[in-house]
Symmetry: C2
Subunit: 353 residues, 2 copies
């Protein structure tokens, strides 16, 4: 019996989570799978206000005992500065649970209009595989000569051979299950040390996988290609920062940024993996009950996939697509052109299951 | 009499440069301005093959005596690795001539179809102001434990107070001549030292310019906004890397990546500024005579602006727009849907002058 730690977090995270949990529960039960959910209130502004920190001291043991984590969104800048809330929760999970792969599927869904002219459902379908524990997100560096004209800030990007190789291996494995192509995001013409290193490790990985086609683009022109030729891509492997950028830009190009899911995976299975929508806590619309719950539900589907219940995951995805295809404005949330709310859309997906 | 150093460089740089020079010459002469051009063959693969380096030893003195540099494109990976050709020429110029601002206008032109659904001429018009000498493009770092499993690469991002403040000042000045809004590109929620520092300097600059509206976005969601709401932006100020990304993505969104110009400016006037098209040397189409010369011509217009001959610059821009608006397929190059070539399009713009 898989056990899930449920962390709604802040803002709309709290509003969409019930539908994520229910969708997973319904799909799993139908297949005779009993999933157990435990809810936690930490990793939120309320918890921070009460305890002066984002997580309980024993969070590693508590969360470490679960099979997976279903996460909503964290961030409430009015109460806690973002770098405190994020480095105090989500980024800790990724690092301590060694969730070294961040997976973000990008495809145009039925009923969703891509902002790109002439692109519709079926035209675009790629997967961003992001390194999720090192690279540009370091905590090495500092500020010198503070308060003077000579003041400067410095921060180190760190790419380890182990860290780079393992995420590339994962990307090539994913490509074998798809269209057998991996594109690497680089910037070795400008970032002169770490990025040429990234390129060398990519070449080494390519040699180990001769059955996979490879290419690479500098990040500047790669973002342009996402807009101009998104159909070129199958699997895109990228550093922490470049993966972060591409996995917002990708869903923006497919028109799915409000509904895209993501998986933070510890492939060895030593620690729980974490599943969360790409959208954040959205303080601007929190409390109105109009947030789109699909990103949370779809993240639940990725979680079921990861737990080995691929059929359940596929059924949830099919339910999402059928509701979007039906395009009933009374059901859809405003972000996808509807007049409905979180409740109407969440229920519709669960009923379609 | 302004003196211009002309450096065509590699690939299509050589093919488009003659039209850039001629457009500048014709526009300037009409206003009684005599511009002197000297051509240089360095910063090219041929020069490298002959001399084993990209530039002559006395390049600083030679180029330093000109009022401006009109540059084509450098890069010929079949002969010289990109990091050698770029760090041996273009990136040297930017740094040694302290061209600390890189300016890239993004707007949808008449006759050009933006890849964004529902966006047409007049809808989008913003300016990316990129820091051009420091930040993520450092040469500080290295590789440790090379050849072992513990191997890692490290590279430092460096942001100085002087370096950040001066580019922000420039961005606010530009905004005063436009719609009085500056957006800062950040990633202070993930890049925990240099980016919060960037934010602090941006706030300080905003306080000095209360008449300018400001906002800021993390780079991930900012790239999404470029696709979804490009009309939101007026001036966007960004670090070296983020500016590099945004100034390819911006022109991709406006459909102008093949024709966009850029200016590498030394605002103090101590050193020459450099003007170059955003496109590169494009080895894939070099030699076919089909490269679009508009980026080079438009860069010439920015150069005339910078030299104080704004009227000449405006006339060149108007000529470009009138040729694009006429949309004569026999004249236009293939990249903008024509059957013409560099020569037909270049001549048409010059005739329209
Ligand atoms: C060629 C490369 C080093 C350069 C950069 O990254 O600055 C280019 O992309 C540019 O934008 O001028
Ligand atoms: C919130 C932020 C720190 C985070 C990141 O940059 O990793 C987010 O943008 C994401 O992509 O999950």
């Amino acid at each position: 019996m898989p056990t899930i730690a449920v962390i709604p977090g802040d803002g709309i995270g709290k509003e969409v989570m019930p539908f994520g949990v229910q969708a997973v529960d319904v799909a799993a039960r139908r297949h005779g799978l009993d999933v157990e959910f435990d809810h936690f209130d930490f990793a939120s502004a309320e918890y921070y206000q009460e305890h002066g920190r984002m997580l309980p001291e024993d969070w590693k043991t508590v969360l470490g005992s679960y099979d997976a984590i279903l996460f909503g969104a964290v961030g409430c800048p009015a109460v806690v500065p973002d770098h405190v809330s994020l480095w105090g929760s989500l980024l800790q999970f990724r690092r301590h649970f060694d969730q070294y792969v961040n997976l973000r599927p990008c495809r145009i869904l039925p009923g969703i209009t891509s902002p790109l002219r002439d692109k519709g459902p079926g035209d675009v379908d790629f997967l961003v595989v992001r390194e999720n524990t090192e690279g540009e997100y370091s905590n090495s560096g500092g500020i010198m000569f503070e308060g003077t004209q000579r003041e400067f800030a410095m921060q180190e990007t760190v790419m380890t051979r182990v860290g780079v190789d393992r995420v590339m291996e994962y990307a090539f494995d994913q490509a074998m299950k798809r269209r057998r192509k991996v594109t690497s995001a680089t910037k070795s013409n400008g970032i002169s040390i770490t990025m040429p290193y990234w390129d060398r490790r990519f070449s080494a990985a390519a040699v180990r996988h001769p059955e996979v086609e490879t290419d690479q683009f500098h990040i500047d022109i790669l973002t342009a290609h996402f807009v101009q030729h998104p159909e070129w891509f199958d699997v895109v492997v990228a550093s922490n920062l470049f993966g972060d950028i591409l996995s917002d830009l990708g869903p923006a190009c497919t028109g799915t940024i409000g509904v895209a899911p993501s998986a933070n995976i510890n492939p060895t299975g030593e620690f729980p993996s974490l599943f969360e929508p790409v959208h954040g806590s959205a303080p601007d619309i929190a409390g109105q009950g109009i947030a789109n719950p699909i990103g949370q539900i779809w993240s639940g589907a990725m979680m079921l996939d990861h737990l080995g219940a691929e059929d359940c995951g596929k059924e949830i995805e099919a339910a999402i697509e059928s509701v979007l295809r039906a395009a009933d404005t009374a059901v859809l949330t405003p972000d996808v052109g509807g007049t409905g709310n979180t409740e109407t859309l969440g229920r519709a997906v669960i009923e379609a299951l």
